[in-house]
């Protein structure tokens, strides 16, 4: 046998042995097929409205993790209190996997609007990661509906007034509003009673 033949044949054998010893990588078997992904995507439960988010934050729901998917710059300029920043680009970075792939907390992705957060949600959901949601309307809605909550017209229904009242309360709670007192205490206003830790949120919330 010529030298070159011996080299090539040994390389093949070595490669095959290597491949055998290398074993299989764990592939994600939780990954959703496109049908399932879409059928999940149309469900309203994936989204949380700004009102529900406000409620959950005021009650200090401990399961909530706010994830800001905007750029670090935008995050620095303004973010919701307590949010962590995972720019969309870094969503699947190894460091972030324990955050997005977990079964304890409820992650809420948010961005300026709904779109960027929806993309983050879509990727996570395709991978079969649970307990991820996104904020419907994003910060734009948050400011418009909560912080700058405007009173309904005189003729509006009772529900509208109730909604406005709760928004106003939230607005005050989150630093908006016109009350004179300074707002840097972390105690929740009396209106928002805090719930016991880790109790299943049965009635409220955008998800169930």
């Amino acid at each position: 046998m010529k030298k070159i033949e011996i080299y090539i044949i040994s390389a093949l054998l070595l490669g095959a042995v290597w491949l055998t010893l290398a074993g299989k990588i764990e592939k994600n078997d939780k990954e959703l097929c496109p049908y399932k992904l879409i059928s999940q995507a149309v469900q309203i439960e994936n989204k949380i409205t700004v009102d529900d988010l406000a409620k959950k934050l005021m009650t200090k729901d401990p399961s909530i993790v706010l994830i800001d998917v905007r750029s670090a710059d935008e995050f620095k300029k303004f973010s919701l209190s307590g949010a962590i920043n995972i720019p969309l680009e870094k969503l699947l970075a190894d460091d972030n996997l324990p955050i997005i792939n977990q079964e304890v907390n409820n992650n809420i992705f948010y961005s300026n609007g709904s779109d960027k957060a929806a993309k983050a949600w879509l990727i996570c959901n395709r991978l079969g990661y649970k307990n991820n949601f996104y904020l419907s309307g994003g910060l734009n809605s948050w400011i418009k509906d909560i912080i700058k909550a405007t009173p309904p017209e005189e003729t509006a229904s009772k529900e509208d007034f109730e909604l406005y009242n709760s928004r106003k309360a939230a607005s005050i709670f989150f630093g908006g509003g016109t009350v004179g007192e300074s707002n840097n205490s972390s105690a929740a206003p009396a209106a928002a009673s805090s719930k016991p830790l880790r109790k299943k949120e049965s009635a409220g919330g955008g998800c169930n």
Partner: protein
């Protein structure tokens, strides 16, 4: 292959696509296509809303494929005519974005997504031409958030808004499946 509806992009590639924000139609083109009414044009509007909304009012010439049906085999085949460019719009922008991303992930490329939802199209194109008077891109900040907060609550705001809830640290995955935790699903 799209007809089997399996992914062409793996999750990382899907994310890379999601970041680029490609396949977005500009409001100008959107408006000119809606006004053009050229039956020979290769553009096909796709209304992703539910059939009731579609029946109520829709862009002329649009076909109705509710978002939930977008990757059904039949609809994937509908979308396969390479000579056409499909333009998706939905009731909310995120639904159109989701449709576009999933469709791209299964390998379809000849489509555009309207970032403006149907209300935008109706108010700013169909009923009156004023595409710039409303926010076409919902991701564009409508306010200077920090300023709004500062104005509405005076000084000390940043500390106030930052500290009112303590940052929640992510808990690593637990071994056992939490059955009760997380009030969703």
């Amino acid at each position: 292959m799209p007809s089997d509806a399996t992914y062409e992009l793996n999750p990382k590639a899907a994310l890379a696509y999601a970041i680029t924000d490609s396949n977005i139609i500009s409001p100008e083109l959107l408006a000119s296509l809606i006004y053009a009414q050229d039956p020979k044009a290769n553009y096909q509007f796709v209304d992703l809303r539910n059939p009731q909304d579609y029946d109520n009012e829709h862009v002329d010439g649009a076909i109705n494929i509710p978002l939930s049906k977008i990757v059904n085999i039949n609809n994937c085949n509908v979308l396969l005519d390479k000579n056409k460019i499909y333009i998706f719009y939905a009731a909310t922008s995120d639904q159109a974005i989701i449709a576009g991303n999933v469709i791209r992930q299964v390998g379809i490329k000849n489509f555009l997504v309207s970032k403006g939802d149907f209300n935008y199209i109706k108010n700013n194109i169909l009923d009156a031409y004023k595409i710039n008077s409303a926010n076409y891109d919902s991701e564009k900040p409508a306010y200077d958030y920090a300023k709004v907060i500062a104005e509405s609550s005076g000084p000390n705001v940043s500390s106030a808004s930052r500290s009112s809830t303590a940052p929640v640290s992510a808990v690593p995955k637990t071994k056992k499946k939490e059955s009760a935790g997380g009030g969703c699903n």
